[in-house]
Symmetry: C2
Subunit: 649 residues, 2 copies
């Protein structure tokens, strides 16, 4: 058999290398693109589903584009740094060409028709209001300190909740003072500036979860990686965290005045102890909230800090698990050992009531604690000293959903979609640092990477992903340094046979016998009864079991023939048969070129006959064998008069 060398190269990594079944090159898929000449760093995307508009925050510019076709620009506004400010910034040792520009870092809906926008503004972060009708800034020039980083290289996250901006960023020029704050006219709040609260964090994501559990308050969750205080090794260990604050928090009256009284944080575990894999750097988070889903699920993309030569993972967490740690878990405390060492250990002592860090809920109100301003000093002092939980947040099924070697994942969005069988599938779209997008789904406990798409021609990191999941128009938008790309959630029509369509095991795609095409379910309005889809990859219901078409070729004696076999699945092994015998091994007679094409050297009469290219693919525990190409070869001793048909390679 003619075997590709892939398995050898992957070596020991094979166990963590679920291969994307299909690879779409950039030129193969029709991706709508947007970029403005001279503008870079398209790092913030915001979708208005009502207006069908996508807002794009880039370096020194904000754009509005048609969300259904992002190549259609609707509006643009430029926001440049004054020459004066640029000069001052350069004086402080920063680069005029890169750092001393205005990187948009906050792009949030403020009110109907107005966006709140902040930019780094040459290390003088500034915020303004953008009128969506005129698409002009109102010229407020608010101080952006605490809302937006000074340095474009620093991490940031923010979310607008009921007109208040919740943000995680750094508070000074050096980037050495991290802060999680609420910018609010009635009750601005912030974190203590202390190592136990935030220790060199990299902010990743923030969002609000409304109080559907009737726990008494809406909560804002922050996700970040910071330097661990509780662990030690040969060098500093990073640890991924989820932190939570309550929307109703008003700070303390004396202790924790204008500080969060509800700030608690916990470890996010994403590891496989049986393989000594530990993913302790969080890259991105997506919160899946959908009809039919019992509770919100946090999806996190992680990479390892230690010995990372290309390894990524996705872990998911139930909201109730996170909440359980905050509301019932043990706290950590610091202790001094032998005068000079600080160690963090589990706190086993008595915990004051109301429980430190808890939101003001019905029980608290019943006990006359109507607001955080009423909380007893004991509770406040405790939460000030013990913001870190000892219990960890463990992932669903206690293990990663997906582990992939050879890539560094950067961003994630998840779409919950219903397949033809009525079951719901959570489809993960995960981007890489080399401009690709992986689409993966869990099928019977195994992860299946349906396809990999090269979104950007340059192998640049995908900086942001956004999902539009409106019925009939599902897209993934991706931003990078060079531009924005709009990709469909599936490329169903690229599968040209029923077998191809079913074997892709894509919940979005089904075979339509009437159309004789692979169609996207969410774009189909007609009756679904006639469609064919089987998430277990069973192709037995396909009508076109074997395509008996073939190509006939005539070749000259002594020549070389190249027989084509184009087959897209990376999971399939191609087997060439000659007169029903399998062609064994790379030999002087045969060779493979251009992936699966068969070269036959030094043709003689004995090479005449039927050649078949078969694809053998393991789907769950069954092996599916399908005929991809059939060639009939006739080798002739050339007489000068015979016309020769050659096949273009």
């Amino acid at each position: 058999m003619l075997l590709p060398a892939l398995a050898m190269l992957l070596g020991t990594a094979a166990a963590f290398a679920p291969t994307p079944r299909i690879t779409w090159e950039h030129r193969e898929v029709q991706l709508v693109q947007f970029h403005e000449p001279g503008v870079f760093n398209y790092s913030i995307l915001l979708l208005s589903e009502d207006r069908d508009t996508l807002y794009v925050g880039a370096r020194e510019a904000v754009f509005a584009v048609n969300a259904l076709n992002i190549s259609e620009k609707q509006h643009e506004v430029h926001w440049k740094v004054s020459e004066d400010k640029k000069a001052k910034c350069a004086e402080k040792g920063k680069s005029k060409q890169t750092e001393c520009l205005n990187y948009v870092r906050v792009l949030q809906p403020f009110s109907a028709g107005v966006l709140y926008v902040c930019g780094t503004n040459a290390f003088q972060p500034t915020c303004d209001h953008l009128n969506l009708t005129s698409f002009k800034f109102l010229g407020r020039n608010e101080d952006g300190k605490g809302r937006c980083p000074f340095d474009p290289a620093q991490s940031y996250t923010s979310v607008m909740v009921d007109g208040d901006l919740y943000s995680g960023t750094s508070y000074n020029f050096l980037g050495s003072e991290p802060i999680i704050s609420r910018i609010s006219s009635h009750s601005p709040l912030r974190t203590e500036y202390a190592i136990p609260w935030l220790n060199e964090p990299s902010f990743v994501f923030a969002d609000v979860i409304r109080d559907s559990l009737d726990s008494g308050d809406d909560r804002v969750y922050f996700f970040f990686t910071e330097v661990s205080v509780e662990y030690e090794f040969v060098f500093k260990l990073m640890i991924p965290r989820v932190a939570r604050v309550c929307k109703g928090d008003l700070g303390g009256l004396r202790t924790l005045q204008k500080k969060w009284t509800s700030f608690l944080k916990a470890r996010l575990i994403c590891a496989r102890p049986d393989s000594s894999l530990v993913f302790n750097v969080l890259q991105d988070v997506f919160i899946l909230q959908a009809r039919g889903l019992k509770e919100p699920v946090f999806y996190g993309v992680f990479t390892p800090q230690l010995n990372n030569i290309g390894l990524s993972a996705v872990c998911s967490y139930n909201l109730s698990t996170v909440e359980g740690v905050f509301s019932r878990g043990k706290y950590m405390q610091s202790a001094t050992v032998e005068q000079s060492h600080t160690k963090w250990v589990r706190y086993n002592g008595a915990v004051p009531t109301p429980r430190p860090g808890a939101c003001i809920n019905r029980a608290a109100r019943a006990a006359n604690f109507s607001s955080s301003l009423n909380l007893p000093d004991k509770t406040l002092q405790f939460v000030k000293d013990h913001p870190l939980m000892d219990d960890s947040v463990t992932p669903i099924d206690s293990k990663p959903r997906l582990i992939k070697s050879g890539v560094n994942y950067t961003q994630i969005v998840v779409d919950r979609t219903q397949a033809l069988d009525g079951a719901f599938y959570d489809v993960m779209f995960v981007s890489t640092d080399r401009g690709a997008l992986h689409k993966a789904v869990s099928l019977n406990g195994d992860v299946h990477i349906i396809e990999e798409t090269q979104l950007f021609q340059d192998l640049e990191p995908v900086q942001t992903l956004l999902l539009s999941s409106k019925k009939g128009r599902k897209f993934v938008y991706a931003g990078s340094n060079s531009g924005v790309v709009q990709a469909p959630v599936a490329y169903c029509r690229n599968h040209i046979t029923c077998q191809d369509c079913v074997l892709t095991r894509d919940p979005y795609c089904a075979w339509s016998p009437t159309e004789a095409a692979c169609v996207a379910l969410h774009e189909t309005d007609g009756p679904r009864r006639a469609l064919i889809q089987d998430m277990s990859g069973d192709v037995s219901t396909c009508p076109d079991k074997v395509r008996e078409s073939f190509r006939q070729h005539f070749f000259k004696h002594g020549g070389t023939a190249e027989l084509k076999c184009s087959q897209r699945s990376n999971l399939a092994r191609v087997v060439w048969k000659f007169q029903n015998g399998v062609l064994t091994a790379e030999s002087p007679k045969y060779s493979l070129v251009r992936r699966n094409n068969l070269l036959i050297f030094n043709l003689s009469e004995g090479d005449s006959g039927v050649y078949q290219c078969l694809a053998e693919e393991k789907v769950r525990n069954k092996t599916v064998l399908r005929l991809v190409a059939k060639h009939i070869l006739e080798v002739r001793v050339l007489s000068p008069q015979t016309p020769v048909v050659t096949i273009p390679p």
Copy 2:
């Protein structure tokens, strides 16, 4: 340019992927082999340079073979488990076919003409003396407890020093009681059975270093990996250690009676903090002691515990660094935190005199401490409680000598050899878990893997390596489950041109213009003046600058041509030129087959001309371009009478 896809596949790992310059397949090199039908697990090798005999310890057998040609068996003795013992072992739940056999684990010179041999003996470890003249066991059947593990799956190490056996192994059936002991008629000693002394260790290596520094005593060093008490993470962390005992230790009089009073251990650091690489599992150690070397150097082979998808490293340590940690470093102490947690921190208090764990040296004797039996209780109690040093042993140059991705290294030997320029090179021979051997050398701060040899046809782990470094007969012996292999230290004669010979940058090889061959320096007796070698890879002194030989071919119009180019360097990139123009990219016209051969499709008159295959290799900062093959092609419109010359592919 026709580029191989290698670079893409290595991806982010490229930085840690020094590629072996040449790969020798098993069938390409003449390796002498030894194995006895039905005998497996050739895990212990012992060389007698006087007798030119290699002793081989395997499962249920010991062999003596000719060290110059190991395929010549001189003696053999079988040592089987009695049926009775085998049955008892099987009753305890062990496998009769694998575990309940006798695995030889100790093979040490005892006295002139006698070897000391121990085996697991169906979980009843037993030792005996082997008379080398009769090659028969003396039938002593000594209890092997503490000298040899019960379980063949468990780690072991031992060294015979002046008739006493120093061994690291487990002391019980379950393998739960680790021990480092001295088996001695006059003063048997052992470790305390306590976590601070040994915590689930995997023993790797032990050897004696004689007292050349006049520090007062010979020392025996043990190398192992154990579970760390001082570090913590999401799960148990392993840590590599070096431990040391003094030969003159007699134990304490009351405290530490029959226990080591000189047992101290320290962390071995093998890490690259700038890349977050940490290699904390020790696989093997080799002690390099050679003329001209100021002090012994410990070479260690490491793999990471965490996120190891194929990554290995070699770190080396000066003896004086190790000794400095033991003789001047801080100790660690355990402290109880909040009643229930034990933390290990630096001990900053007063240290008793004589220094705990120190050998009895001149100063101690002068202070009337003539033996460990005289040591004060304070010193003994301190070393009993503080066997672990706080200072770490850092590697030479503070970083690994070699980091390699895509492999798991298992064993190492190092040969110090003198090149033609008079400089000494320490050549590392490192084996893998897939039967290969890498030969590497540091050249100007960079590591250069000269070659990789497939020692064993099956991709099985190399279990043991041994170096024979006698002038004129340098060999590397390797043992695996299936047999023993004897490999020369270099394959100089395989390089057929002067350029090839010099570019290999192998300190063992030089070009002899008189012989017109690449010769091994250590096998050459003649004058060295005429030889050509340049460790920087400068080929300018080579006489045969360009071989102007070429091959002429005639091809038919419309046919396909395959032009050969065989070039061995994995570091070279092949460039095909046609009439001095570089052929660009894989195209319908051209393709590469069988690595570097050029296929030209659909030949026409325009394809006639000169084709050159050039190898472009970066050596240090210079690019060396050499002509590998030259073809002159003539394409003819075929008239039926013209004879056609075809090149066999």
